[in-house]
Symmetry: C2
Amino acid sequence: MASRTRKSERRTEALTRERILEAAVELLDATGEGGLTFRALTERLVTGPGAIYWHVANKGELLDAATDTVVAAALAIEPAESADSPQGEIRAVALGLFDAIDEHPWLAAQLATQLSRSPWGAVAPRILESIGRQVRALGVPEGSQFTATSALMHYILGAAGQNAANGRVLGPGVDRSEFLDATSRAWKELDPDDFPFTRAVADQMRAHDDQAEFLAGIDLILAGITAVHPPTT
Amino acid sequence: MASRTRKSERRTEALTRERILEAAVELLDATGEGGLTFRALTERLVTGPGAIYWHVANKGELLDAATDTVVAAALAIEPAESADSPQGEIRAVALGLFDAIDEHPWLAAQLATQLSRSPWGAVAPRILESIGRQVRALGVPEGSQFTATSALMHYILGAAGQNAANGRVLGPGVDRSEFLDATSRAWKELDPDDFPFTRAVADQMRAHDDQAEFLAGIDLILAGITAVHPPTT
DNA sequence: ACCTGAACACCGTTCAAGT
DNA sequence: ACCTGAACACCGTTCAAGT
């Protein structure tokens, strides 16, 4: 009982909103959407639920804040390969979000929920801003900048959301090509009358590379923007 | 007690998976995501939870099936203005999904959740098929059909998801222009250094029309497809 | 001002028992 | 084969009480 002076490591270094958010993100990353509970959170933070409610209004706010934090971090990353063209910058922003959703798969569903709850809340302006600056640099006339930027943002959110799953479906046992194979086979067994197209592209889907496909979509939209708003060289 | 022959209207007409799905969709439409509980469902169907579990594996399957039903119905609608061009058909398909999400706002988040759980489950092939046929008709070379179709699908899911909120945020008291006004004002008060673009487009966002904006995005992607894969006239 | 922790209402799911 | 309904484990949230 003499060596009690040290106590057992650090315990409380005061509970802050930041520490709570940090723990929430860790919990979400480790255990998925269902893993974030107030019980798990109190255990990890060594407190009671009341303490958390002192810093955070409710679970919804907690999720929103966690989402915002992660998105902000993803957009803050300066692309290593400093793309010099606006197109390159847009690709970099898109890939940043793509990777963030890949690292934090819960982001996909959470972004959708949040955007559909408060469409222009905190997250949307962040993404809009990152892309919009480049759209402007592309020479898109002022009156069309919002439309072009929104289109890119919506594509990114839709595509990244679905692609996030690829990293998640593949549990410990399943590997990627095995999964794609199975899906491809399933598509080929669809009703020929109802699903001729899907059957026909089953092989393309099997061979596809998530990130390359994602960027090809970005490039398609960029090509559309350039076609509709040709740069006044 | 003599007039008991009639009984009190219909009571049980046997519980089927279809009746359960129907009730689930009604409940979701009426009370939102949080409103679908097994208690509410048993009350509406006048049974116990066990009866529902006999027809449905669990709540997740119930939600997936409800989503699939609604999406299938939305895609089955033949556009009244029978668009003759592939572009017109694609716009019609897109608008069908847009409207479905508008009518069933819970669809947005549910689609995202479902797609991020099983990316190529039941819903994705349906959408892929509807759009893909038209992409093919557009003359896109075979090797690029999957990419072009996916891009359209992802944009639609992303955009419709966010736009769904507009119909939902507006409760009884709030009207649309009031809401856009408030958002627009909020954007103009963002930090000028961090959000120059968002501040600049605040007025465009305020004046924008959801459906027109949505279709403008579709057209942008269609323009991109045409630019990258010019029709071999 | 910040934290504790028992208590409450509610949820998804199970399962022995009925028909 | 299909349904009943009590029971279980778990969840978000509250709040009187402490410091």
